[in-house]
């Protein structure tokens, strides 16, 4: 029976400030700071830790009743002072919450007051403010808001340098490391933001680090205004909300906007763009990766052809994955997201003009109960998305291939590759193995060669 549905049940999204905290972790020597109740910081830390397995300190201005009545200015200032003292950060990334947004705190003004009041103290950290009310959008909007606010605060105008900005979207630490490797192999100076490849997936510590090593230095972000180009991943990310969009508008840095490079076609676009921007050919090693991937496609094509899947998660991840899946003959019969940009269908259509003929259905703003209802009707061969789909996978006996964020019930989500030839190779192997495992388990014979 179909039920009327006002409430969100088993949400396929998280709140705005979570994304901002993650993005701020990608700036060197930066402490994320939530202007709101203590619980927001604690829940978000817990949620991130369960995926990344790293200590994640997020400060909070710790609202009380009086704070909510008289405004958060006093608490925010004390908080900034305490964080500065205890963490000695170079940057404090301040994100708002539903609470501070609803009472209407003017955070930029409070920051200016704070800077005026305490300017004679020790060196003042740089303060970045991102507006991230939890009642708007989802975690991915908070992520982009923080990246844009960072660039807005730090980027300066300068003579054009041979520098490329790269804004990779909310990808894994492993993906970030891979992108850095590519740019280093191209021997081109770059500014990648946010870079949490080390802060969210680092080594052991001999002593306690208040702020873990790693991240994009503020001084590097300052150069972003003088870059020759910005590359920004994320089909549904509009220029008006993005860091690259700001840099184009404010400093005339051209914005090259593309889907997450997953699959051969989208990865090719990325490498071709890099070749054009750097006026050189890609290093041989990436041709090798590409050739191995094409070879793997050939070896595994029969397992995956005409398999039907449901893919869900952040919209940009869904678009990137859909491009990849269709090029190996898998049909994403449902592309679903808890996000609601209004651009998901259009973005998929741009990459796959024949999407309707293929039977690709798109739904924005859904939760896991909606997706499960669809799954019951559509009967996909498997599900692809974060670990929160496990409940529906188990209940309906549909295998789940985990990727993206969060992965709370498996090990190593932070080290999983998604992007480029290497990431696609990893995903392809996993998908093929899922199909093989299914068939092997279902067979009464117990084949030892599959």
């Amino acid at each position: 029976m179909k039920h009327a549905k006002t409430a969100t049940q088993n949400a396929c999204k998280l709140c705005n400030p979570l994304g901002a905290c993650l993005a701020f972790r990608g700036i060197e020597n930066c402490v994320p700071f939530l202007h709101g109740s203590q619980g927001c910081a604690t829940y978000i830390r817990r949620y991130l830790i369960s995926h990344y397995k790293e200590p994640i300190d997020i400060a909070s201005s710790n609202f009380h009743e009086e704070t909510a009545v008289f405004g958060g200015s006093h608490n925010l200032k004390i908080g900034l002072k305490n964080v500065s003292k205890q963490y000695k950060p170079e940057v404090i990334g301040i994100a708002t919450t539903c609470l501070s947004e609803t009472i209407g705190d003017d955070v930029p003004m409070i920051i200016r007051e704070y800077q005026a009041e305490f300017k004679n103290g020790s060196p003042m950290p740089i303060m970045i403010h991102a507006s991230t009310p939890s009642y708007m959008g989802s975690h991915i909007d908070g992520f982009h808001a923080a990246v844009r606010a960072t660039v807005k605060t730090l980027a300066e105008k300068g003579a054009r340098e041979k520098l490329i900005n790269i804004f990779p979207n909310m990808v894994s630490p492993a993906d970030i490391r891979y992108l850095k490797e590519i740019l280093e192999d191209f021997k081109v100076p770059y500014m990648l933001l946010p870079d949490y490849s080390q802060t969210m997936d680092g080594g052991p510590w001999g002593e306690y680090h208040r702020i873990p090593p790693g991240g994009t230095p503020a001084s590097a972000i300052a150069m972003a205004g003088s870059a020759v180009a910005s590359i920004e991943f994320g089909s549904t990310l509009e220029a008006s909300k993005s860091a690259a969009g700001y840099l184009e508008e404010a400093f005339g840095v051209p914005r090259y906007h593309m889907a997450l490079p997953i699959g051969i076609k989208e990865s090719d676009k990325f490498f071709t763009l890099l070749e054009a921007l750097t006026e050189q050919e890609r290093p041989e090693k990436y041709d090798d990766e590409r050739r191995r991937l094409i070879d793997a496609y050939a070896d595994g094509h029969k397992y995956v052809f005409e398999q039907k899947v449901i893919i869900y998660g952040e919209e940009d991840l869904v678009v990137g994955m859909t491009a990849f899946l269709t090029e190996i003959g898998i049909t994403p019969i449902l592309c679903a997201s808890g996000g609601k940009s209004g651009l998901l269908r259009k973005s998929i259509m741009e990459l796959i003009p024949g999407m309707d003929e293929l039977g690709i259905k798109v739904r924005e703003g859904v939760d896991f109960v909606d997706i499960e209802d669809e799954a019951k009707l559509l009967k996909p061969d498997f599900l692809i998305g974060n670990s929160k789909g496990y409940t529906m996978s188990r209940k309906n006996n549909i295998p789940l291939i985990r990727l993206g964020f969060p992965i709370h019930d498996r090990f190593g989500g932070q080290r999983m590759h998604h992007l480029g030839y290497r990431g696609t190779q990893e995903l392809f192997d996993r998908i093929v193995n899922t199909v093989i495992e299914q068939r092997q388990n279902a067979s009464s014979i117990g084949y030892t060669y599959m």
């Binding site: 006002t6 088993n10 709101g36 510590w205």
Partner: protein
């Protein structure tokens, strides 16, 4: 090493036990300092953890999506029947709702969800902004209760209106609305309620079995493997047995006042405290010496089986040092004793929500040189772990990566654990987990051993 200082305003929440040293009254029960990275949560969190295990109730979070998303299937609280508590429901308030109010959305959500899931009752949690936009939750709840015929209980858990403890109280208040509404017919005189036991990894079942072996009837477990009908008749029990005192003492006191049911505080962690919790219940029924006999029988059987199996761990762990940082102080006491019984000493002990009496008792229990902290933070915890050369940290998810980064063992003693640590079998599991983590050869590569990385 870089000098780590304690934040001003936190000096009174950190204490080192020294003979002849300055005697500072540890300050607690305060809200966390702005800008320090507290390991605490908020009022909502307190309410949510207490009510979460009630498995046949609808738990609807009224607010933007975060609060519901972060508490979806978050605890290891298991149910022997319905599992409605493992779903996450939110009114997912949007900007327009914030401007024009969320009452309508709340009403429709409730009506639809009750129709779809047929719960025995509904708990409506208010989150931060609901406290600001002025939704009349009470009125909506009354209306829906009338239309659907089930109890619809508002839980006033706006995150900023106090600390986690206030959230416990709000949850207990909601439970009090249910208690007393069911029939107490056929309840034995020799009966108890188990309060503050949340059935993580089936712990309530273990405890319940011990009491039942003693001939005691367990009327209601609040709230582990909880059912609304059982909550409704909790006032029929003769005694309330309170664990996790932080969350449930308020309810016990209310029940004492309203129904004249006395309560005792217990802990099910470690051999000593587990045994005591059975004896203390038996003592409450002096006219039935057979209950005490049965309790002794249970303890003796269990200990006979457990004791030899602990020796291997004790041999390996003797002389190792532990740091404890958990939610409630009462648990800390038990853990100190449990650790001692496997040869370990405690160099740091602290809690998120202990009160003055708890800390006084903690001071008494601890060894010379032990650091005691209230509402600590990662910087402080790390400082003391390194200074005191701890080999193990006991805590929850947020503390785990601190231990592993610093290259020491960790035991998860929080809501998410999947292995029961309560009861006699729990003591075995605890010792095994500590042993497996502390004695692992992987720490030979940790930089604190002087290894170059």
């Amino acid at each position: 090493m870089e000098q780590i200082s304690i934040l001003e305003g936190r000096h009174k929440q950190v204490f080192e036990k020294k003979t002849g040293g300055e005697q500072v009254e540890i300050s607690c029960d305060t809200s966390s300092l702005s800008g320090s990275v507290s390991q605490r949560a908020c009022v909502f969190c307190g309410s949510r953890v207490v009510l979460y295990p009630v498995a046949d109730a609808l738990h609807l979070v009224h607010g933007p999506i975060g609060c519901a998303a972060y508490t979806w299937d978050i605890r290891g609280a298991v149910s022997s029947g319905p599992e409605l508590h493992r779903l996450s429901f939110s009114t997912d308030l949007q900007e327009m709702d914030v401007i024009y109010g969320g009452e309508k959305k709340l009403y429709h959500s409730l009506i639809e969800l009750i129709e779809q899931y047929k719960p025995k009752a509904a708990f409506i949690y208010s989150t931060c902004i609901v406290g600001l936009i002025g939704d009349d939750i009470e009125a909506v709840c009354r209306k829906v209760a009338k239309e659907t015929g089930i109890p619809v209980l508002p839980v006033h858990s706006e995150g900023f209106k106090g600390t986690k403890k206030d959230g416990y109280k709000a949850a207990c208040h909601a439970l009090m609305q249910l208690i007393g509404t069911g029939s107490t017919e056929n309840i034995s005189k020799y009966s108890i309620n188990i309060l503050g036991e949340f059935n993580l990894a089936g712990e309530a079942w273990i405890i319940r079995k011990y009491y039942e072996k003693m001939g005691i009837e367990v009327v209601s477990t609040l709230t582990g493997d909880g059912r609304i009908d059982a909550v409704r008749r909790a006032h029929g029990a003769s005694l309330n047995v309170v664990q996790c005192s932080g969350s449930m003492t308020w309810l016990a006191k209310e029940m004492e006042q309203k129904y004249g049911i006395p309560y005792i505080r217990v802990s099910y962690f470690g051999i000593e405290d587990m045994s005591k919790s059975l004896y203390d219940v038996a003592k409450h029924f002096p006219e039935r010496p057979d209950i005490m006999e049965a309790a002794k029988q249970v303890v003796s059987e269990e200990v006979k089986e457990l004791y030899p199996s602990l020796q291997k761990f004790k041999k390996a762990l003797t002389g190792k040092k532990a740091a404890i940082y958990v939610g409630g102080a009462f648990k800390t006491f038990s853990l100190i004793k449990a650790l001692r019984s496997i040869g370990m000493s405690v160099v740091l002990a602290g809690s998120q929500t202990g009160n003055k009496d708890d800390y006084a008792r903690l001071k008494e229990m601890c060894d010379e040189g032990t650091v005691i902290v209230d509402d600590s933070n990662p910087v402080e915890l790390s400082k003391f772990i390194l200074e005191k050369e701890a080999d193990l940290l006991i805590g929850g998810v947020k503390e785990r990566p601190i231990a592993f980064k610093l290259g020491i063992g960790f035991c998860d003693h929080n809501h998410e654990r999947k292995i029961p640590l309560a009861g006699f079998v729990g003591m075995y599991n605890f010792a095994l987990e500590v042993y497996q983590s502390v004695m692992s050869p992987v720490w030979q590569f940790a930089p604190r051993k002087g290894v170059k990385i």
